[in-house]
Amino acid sequence: MEPLSWGAIILRILAQFAPVWTALVVTFALSTAFRRRLGLYGKLFDSPIGMVGFGLVMFWVFTGIFAGAFDIIATHDVLDQSASMKNKVPGTPYTKLMGEVAPDAYPYYLLGGDNLGRDVFSRMVVGAWEVIKIAPFASLFAFMVGITLGLPAGYYGGRLDTFLSFLANLILAFPVILLFYLLVTPEIIQTGIPVYMAATLFVFPIVFLVLLWNSRFHTQPATRNLYVGITLVVGTWLYLGIAWDADPLGLVSFPPNLLVVFVAVVFVNAPTVFRIVRGLTMDIKTRDYVAAAQTRGEGPWYIMLWEILPNVRGPLLVDFCLRIGYTTILLGTLGFFGLGLSPESPDWGSTINEGRKLLSMYLHPALPPALALLSLVLGLNLLADGLREESLRD
């Protein structure tokens, strides 16, 4: 079989992404049609920058979900090695040195093969899944921690603030890579420290939600008990499963090496969120509506969670997008240094690291994941910019 020309490669890649294109078109069509009823999200479609950013982000989100969770888009198994495909250029027909090529196998390596003869294209699209399944959730947890601690630090000030700020600065003064090298190692997993850290960090979402419901509904005990009860039951169940791997039902668990990556990323991000929330809180707490809440005898947590927090959602949302981007970069860094994730993992950082060793000869193994990571983070930054612009316009 003849190798594909570049034109044919591009056409085939575009065709391979067909489900993503469909999903994107549907998303954009629906969102544009209903944008006046969708609040800030709808207004995003007034800003060209925001739309481009959103498009890039959703492209990788859909790619990640389709490729990782549903196993479409990718042309080959990401771990399949073929000795005859080592370092082969893009468009090379798929062959095997040993054994037969399965009849229904995709006939080409669209973006060539890497140094072990794995399909670069498939590894790139599945790599998106590695990011999509960690980065947003890690950022979310970092936000929960940062908010739960940042609100009281900003609201009360004083010693609590001094202490928490000192802790935050302590973590921030650590060079991130040093922290990763110390935390994300097999030896540390043996000691169980990540589990304790996870146990501490993952309490925060439960605390956050309980405080949220209690402060709001303490005047109506029946409603309060219902909400707090549901939160505690579901929260404890997930907590036991995720942090301690002790789900009594045996449904929820978290692979230990993924847990340590997750914990490390949350741990690195939370202090920055803390500082942002603290600063915003200090600003908002001087407003009259906060004073009005105080004078009608509201508790501090009601004021923090229901009077202050909703009014800082704009800047927090913007930072959330940036933080997912930063987390993506951090995950890439981990992969680049071969920390945490398994060496075979198709995540972009690891792939770039492997690809760079042969960079002076072969570009194709390193460039696709590098450009993929670049475009996702760029998309997130553009999205944040669009959101910032539109929320200021309000």
Binding site: D46, T162, T219, A292, A293, Q294, P310, N311
Partner: protein, 693 residues
């Protein structure tokens, strides 16, 4: 520039629009005004009427979105619209100078004051730095700032608000401009400081022969400073003429309505209540056809007023007096105001709140940035506050910034606890009980209405939800449905349509937000309401409506109203008793009549003299206080007012500098804190006299 002996500024049919993504928003339409040499013209109107846009249009500084879409602006005969950027720069600062509302914001924080002043002649006249500095010294002396050398070396933040505004004025005068545009130059200042600044501007205008365009929302201020006035409404000039003509023989319904909505001497909440202008200011893109004021006008005639464009009409016999009203000849302008519903004065009931020798001291770090660990300073925010407040009574608390009125409110509400003394609510001590320890009833009993309408409501919660939350906290109603019903009733109480329950605060106007704030305060059936400058951030026509609403609820619910304000006109209008505060001390307290008539405390006297009154019949004694209000962090020894008191020389032996004066009773229920002898008090004359009609 060649000599020019025509008008300094001629604006003819000027129209300015701002362009947004969606539409063109006309900000100023068909606006004409002429400023003669040496003349001061006042531009009056409510916020959003386009008066500041006119000023920026003259300066040709409308930003990227604004554009002049019609008409001309001629300065000394030259059409400013045709000038190049370079020619424009030569005029700005040299020929036309501008003074702004926020002195702190309009000075460069990172540049010494001297350099900012010197820059003007150095740019325009190319003078040397030494000469520019000499001139800056002169001008700083002219604006009566102490120690000019030191001032030139200061950064703006090292000066007080009044001093900053004087520097801004000095900067405008550096190149002796022909025209001075003042955009609300005193709004950010305290009343007594404002009076001094206004005096200064008038004197300097005379001295330098400068023409002035004075933009203000305050009719009283315009009366004091200007020769001619132009009233604007919703982007249009509705009436122009000499100050006398417009004040005494107004020929536009809006001007008339405006005057009827402000508390002038003689207005009374029971016998002669104010009359608010009904309806709302139209949004720029929702203006009605024909007369913009039509929908709110008492004299509106369908088919005439809404038929088409309305031109300016000349009023015969008056001096250049114009009105934009088609019916100005049909209206009986002399007819007295339709009597609004008169109400019976309510008798104050039993004492509900008593304060006894309340003190509140704060410890603050001496240095905010490097705080902690350093030496602390005690701020005496409240000194021995004693008074009683009765049911159905309105007690006004008057004072300028730093007088301790906000601290007093905080202590009363329980946000702070008292340092010393007592607060008795129904004979129960509450001064040491912080709000979280108070029982629901006590909390619901004392509520507050806040100053800033843009800040008083949580921007991300619907109006109804915010009121319902207050009901929840105060334990009202057993079910959500009951609370919802009660919330709708509260909206009725504050005269807001029920569909506002679903709205978000940003969809409401300032006055409407303030009404929601009032509804929220009364949600728990409050018996004592602290109203902290509840109307000072609102436009005058809205002020009347909100004040009346407060009065009406008070009458219905027999509320005790503690009305904190710096505006003596409104205090005189609505309060039963008045308490004047200065630097944490109550310097005078008595019934409204007692406080507003001699004998006064010297501070009250100055305050009364400082308040501009929009009535040509009123004659005031000018008392201009030197300097600024001292900082509460660093109060003077002895009497707090001694640094600015004009009577100080009358007290022998420097007593004022040594001892805090005792509280003295001048008449039953009338007390002052002053060292002056009874004889001196007897010699005092009224500050405000109304000439016989």
């Amino acid at each position: 520039m060649a000599e020019h002996d025509g008008p300094i500024l001629e604006i003819e049919n000027l129209s300015i629009s701002f362009f947004t993504r969606l539409r063109e928003i006309p900000a100023v339409m068909d606006f004409s005004v002429t400023v003669q040499p040496g003349e001061a013209v006042g531009l009056v109107g409510e916020s959003g009427c386009g008066k500041s846009t006119v000023a920026l249009g003259v300066m040709r500084d409308l930003g990227v979105n604004g554009r002049i879409v019609g008409g001309t602006v001629r300065f000394k005969g030259r059409d400013l619209g045709t000038l190049s950027a370079r020619e424009l720069r030569a005029i700005r600062g040299r020929e036309i100078a501008m003074i702004y509302q926020e002195p702190m914001a309009s000075l460069n924080p990172a540049m010494r004051v001297g350099r900012q002043l010197m820059e003007v002649p150095m740019i325009h006249e190319g003078v040397s730095a030494a000469e520019a500095r000499a001139r800056a010294l002169d001008v700083v002396r002219d604006v009566k700032l102490p120690d000019p050398e030191r001032i030139l070396e200061s950064y703006p933040h090292q000066l007080s608000g009044g001093q900053q505004q004087r520097i801004v004025i000095a900067m405008a005068l550096m190149s002796k401009p022909a025209l001075l545009i003042l955009d609300e130059p005193t709004t950010a200042l305290d009343v007594t400081v404002e009076a001094a600044v206004v005096d200064l501007v008038k004197d300097l205008g005379r001295k330098y022969g400068t023409s002035m365009l004075f933009i203000s929302h305050n009719l009283g201020l315009v009366l004091e400073t200007c020769d001619r006035i132009c009233v604007m409404y919703s982007g249009e000039a509705v009436e122009t003429g000499s100050v006398r003509d417009v004040f005494d023989r107004m020929r536009h319904p809006y001007t008339q309505a405006l005057f009827r909505s402000i508390p002038l001497p003689g207005a009374d909440k029971n016998a002669r209540p104010l009359r608010a202008i009904p309806g709302n200011f139209p949004l720029p893109h929702e203006r009605p056809p024909g007369c913009n004021f039509g929908p709110r006008c008492d004299y509106f005639k369908a088919g005439l007023c809404d038929a088409g464009e309305i031109p300016m009409a000349v009023i015969a016999d008056d001096d250049r007096h114009f009105t934009r009203c088609l019916r100005h000849q049909d209206i009986d302008w002399a007819a007295p105001m339709e009597k609004a519903d008169m109400t019976e004065a309510t008798e104050p009931g039993k004492v509900v709140l008593r304060m006894d020798k309340l003190r509140k001291y704060y410890e603050v770090a001496a240095n905010a940035l490097f705080g902690g660990g350093g030496p602390t300073r005690v701020v005496k925010a409240n000194e021995t506050l004693s008074f009683e407040a009765r049911e159905s009574e309105t007690l006004a608390i008057v004072g300028e910034s730093g007088c301790g009125k906000s601290t007093f409110a905080k202590v009363l509400m329980g946000l702070e606890t008292a340092t010393d003394g007592e607060i008795l609510l129904d004979n129960r001590n509450i001064e040491q009980i912080p709000i979280e320890k108070r029982d629901t009833q006590t909390v619901a009993d004392i509520q507050m209405v806040f100053q800033n309408p843009f800040d008083t409501l949580n921007p991300s919660m619907s109006v109804g939800r915010q009121i319902i939350r207050a009901l929840e906290v105060f334990g009202h109603g057993a079910t959500d449905a009951e609370r919802r019903e009660e919330m709708l009733r509260l909206l009725d109480l504050v005269k807001l349509p029920r569909e506002f329950a679903e709205r978000m605060p940003r969809q409401l106007s300032g006055g409407q937000k303030q009404r929601v704030g009032i509804a929220r305060a009364f949600a728990g059936g409050a018996r004592i309401v602290v109203a902290d400058e509840p109307v000072s951030a609102l436009d005058v026509s809205v002020q009347a409506a909100v004040t009346d609403l407060l009065m009406e609820i008070q009458r219905k619910q027999k509320t005790t109203l503690l009305f904190i304000s710096h505006d003596l006109s409104i205090v005189r209008y609505l309060s039963d008793r008045v308490m004047v505060m200065y630097l944490g001390h109550v310097v005078e307290m008595g019934s409204t009549d007692q406080v507003f008539a001699p004998p006064y405390h010297p501070y009250t006297e100055a305050l009364l003299s400082a308040v501009p009154i929009a009535d040509t019949r009123v004659q005031k004694t000018r008392i201009v206080l030197e300097g600024d209000v001292p900082s509460a962090m660093n109060p003077p020894p002895g009497c707090p007012f001694q640094t600015r008191c004009r009577w100080k020389a009358e007290v022998p032996g420097g007593l004022c500098e040594r001892e805090v004066p005792p509280v003295r009773d001048l008449a039953p229920g009338h007390q002052v804190k002053c060292h002056l002898s009874q004889e001196m008090f007897d010699r005092m004359e009224p500050v405000i006299r109304v000439a016989a009609e």
